[in-house]
Subunit: 477 residues, 2 copies
């Protein structure tokens, strides 16, 4: 499609035209969590942001392969395990489960969730290749370090182009050639998990996993590398150094995308949430769709300050979207095909086209979901203002198509769109049948069983209204 | 997306790169039926072909506005009305209803179905503008003709560039300047419907409606004009002359697309169908999905010879697609997220990517649906061969996404994809409740009412199996 998608590339600090290496195919790697604690709202912000990007790319006709790793070997995990007196694997498994449940609730479907501990062999091979090529060296302890000075482009991603800005990595500082060299492999210390390697027992450093697992699943170069802004340095800087050194390929990653910072804001928010910002706590208070919608309707690069008010706003938006789908569904059943349209109706059709164009234009502008959502909202206004009282088939159908399309990106209305006529029809007929059978009990004045059926249906969101000679019902979602 | 879509343009007789007038928006006008008889399989072939084109364009990210007219004023309608002794409107309404029902069954959603009789005012204005500009003349009878010699490019669309090939239109030949001039407005004859006009009582000629209604709903120029091959001359040739003359714009239509001929073939076919080829008869013998699938998987430009065998083949393909969705649905519930993939699993993922690429490449090649379907079929093979016994999440998810995407074009699996978990869950709970209530009647040995519930559920595709102390049920689609 000739409309041009543009994305801001952290590497160039410019908005660039988006063109993946292979036409039609986008390979995307997103840094997932270190599983030492429950996922929190800040994680959700980043994961939803990249899910929205993925979904929009799919809507634009790209095939997207989405890999999001799980860091299950790390200092923090080991520390936590020692605190609790359990194995590191128990900690990792517990919080991996929590993370995956969070993604599921947020309607995020990652293709591959590679876990570091499943890729030790590949990590060792990668490090060996770096040593062989002269980019890494083995220190006396058995740790292996990346020799930053050997890589000619270090610091470009984070904009730290002078050595003074490179800081120094924690660790066995004295054995390193330079303070800014970073560990690829850490020699085993007592009480830590370890694996055999050509350099003795040890475990991978933090950064190497992403270079290894991305190339395993996406090839030596890929299109989008994403993560939170806080990962740019040193994590992504180091990943880039490792991979470009190893593969002798530049650029290794075509577009680096980073989400803005997240924080809780507002007095009310801190009062109501205290320090609890885990997703599982948040889901007790708000529907996953509301949290998803909030994050899916801000620009991924912008900082997000979440307040009670912003969540309430998302709640209102969500319920407006639901009412719009439900209304359109009803109107779709009622309207007759149009054999002629008035000027006013043509204006409504044009307004819907404009809304759709606005949505695409906004998303094409570096995935500006906030601006895009203003157009979604405009569509709901058109539906309520122009179609609810005077529906016509072309308008209703076009609005339906547009909203269904927007939801491919928003991902919060699936269950309202799902079912379609076929399934709704079946539900309707089944409820009719139950109501009819219940009438039999009412005729016999067996109130107890009739009441039980009523309350079981109520539990499914179906409310019965008994009239003198019949029973009506409505579905409340 | 940088992949290039190419279409064969009847006007240039070349395959051209597809670029609509407005980026991202495709305006498409397809010639619909003259409603003097039931819709037949030949109509279905053309309507499904353009629906597939529309759906593929949508999948590629284009917004598509689809207008398909209904010719409800015509010699054949008048003749039929006179034969039956009813009004022309009764005939038109009867077959319009049949046509719209056919589209509905074939899962084709046209935005606007303009009907000629609703656009008489606009037709008169259009004709007057042609007269004013010197392209048309009023004959003594009150009929108005298009003066073909005045239009400098007549015959280009159909490749009839010399006057000898233009033939002559039936009608009041003597009053025309040239035999090949065609009627824009026909003076009323006894027993025919008529409308008042500046030239006396009369009715529109055949061709003018499409010029008028397309410009009303799509603007003075638009992207795709479609129809059966048999409409190229004189219908589309005349439409083009009228519109380019009226608007002084060239090209009026950017791409002219025509479907190949349809015929019934094979001995069996003629035996089983006789001369009955109406859609409503065909639907008695085959599911609409099977007929749709057959037409959705041939190249729109190729001739189609429909045989008993080709329908059986479509039936087998349909049932294979259904089994594939059902299997994937089941596997989606069962598999755990992948933390690591084997070489073999990576090969499966690559195979799915190749399939998807193949599908897009084929459709990008002038909507070669036949070639595209070979890739869909290949996907079902991957699912059964590589995933059914050894499912893994990334493979199942990617296969699911690909099939769901292919169905956006095929349009035959909606009800199998629809529902999703939410709706299926509600249906399951409702059936459980009915079965439970029915148990109450069985305990009381009220067999009659229990049997009635059984047969009502059976009518909804739900089969009960009574065991000694409980009742199991399955859903048969």
């Amino acid at each position: 499609m000739p409309i041009v998608l543009r994305v801001y590339n952290t590497l160039s600090r410019e908005v660039e035209v988006f063109e993946p290496f292979e036409p039609g195919l986008v390979k995307m790697y997103v840094c997932g969590p270190t599983v030492y604690d429950y996922s929190h709202l800040g994680h959700a912000r980043t994961y939803v942001a990249f899910d929205v990007i993925k979904r929009y790319l799919r809507l634009r006709g790209y095939d997207v392969i989405h890999v999001q790793n799980i860091t299950d070997i790390d200092d923090k995990i080991i520390r936590r395990a020692n605190e609790e007196g359990v194995s590191w694997r128990e900690i990792a498994d517990r919080y991996t489960k929590d993370y995956l449940e969070g993604l599921e609730k947020l309607n995020i479907h990652v293709h591959i969730h590679p876990r570091v501990s499943d890729h030790i062999r590949e990590i060792i091979e990668f490090i060996q290749a770096l040593i062989d090529a002269g980019y890494a060296y083995v220190a006396p302890s058995g740790s292996v370090y990346f020799d930053v000075d050997k890589f000619d482009d270090y610091g470009r991603l984070s904009g730290r182009l002078s050595k003074e800005l490179w800081g120094q990595e924690e660790g066995f500082v004295k054995e390193k050639k330079h303070p800014y060299d970073f560990a690829l492999w850490k020699a085993a210390k007592p009480g830590e998990p370890w694996w055999e390697s050509p350099w003795g027992k040890g475990r991978p450093g933090w950064h190497i996993e992403c270079s290894v697992m991305s190339s395993k699943y996406l090839g030596k170069r890929f299109d989008i590398h994403g993560g939170g802004q806080d990962l740019i340095f040193p994590h992504h800087e180091n990943e880039r150094a490792q991979s470009e050194a190893r593969f002798g390929i530049r650029p290794w990653v075509k577009y680096w995308l980073h989400t803005g910072m997240f924080r809780l804001g507002g007095e009310k928010m801190s009062k109501s949430l205290g320090n609890i910002v885990t997703l599982k706590e948040a889901f007790k208070k708000w529907r996953p769709e509301v949290i998803r919608l909030l994050f899916a309707t801000v620009h991924y690069r912008k900082p997000v300050e979440m307040t009670e008010e912003s969540l309430k706003q998302a709640e209102r938006s969500f319920s407006r979207l639901v009412s719009t789908v439900e209304l359109l569904k009803k109107l779709m059943q009622e309207v007759e095909p149009d054999h002629s349209l008035s000027e006013g109706q043509l204006r409504v059709l044009n307004a819907i086209s404009e809304v759709r164009k606005g949505f695409y234009d906004a998303m094409d502008d570096d995935f500006n979901a906030s601006k895009a959502f203003a157009h979604v909202y405009e569509l709901t206004t058109i539906v309520f203002r122009d179609l609810s009282q005077k529906p016509f088939a072309a308008g209703v159908l076009r609005a339906w198509e547009a909203l269904r399309e927007f939801n491919e990106v928003l991902g919060v209305l699936d269950k309202y769109f799902a079912g379609g006529e076929g399934s709704d029809e079946l539900v309707r007929k089944l409820v009719d049948l139950i109501v009819e059978v219940r009438q039999e009990f009412r005729r016999r004045k067996e109130w107890e069983i009739a009441d039980r059926i009523r309350s079981e249906l109520a539990a499914l969101g179906i409310r019965l209204m008994d009239k003198r000679d019949r029973t009506e019902w409505i579905m409340e979602r």
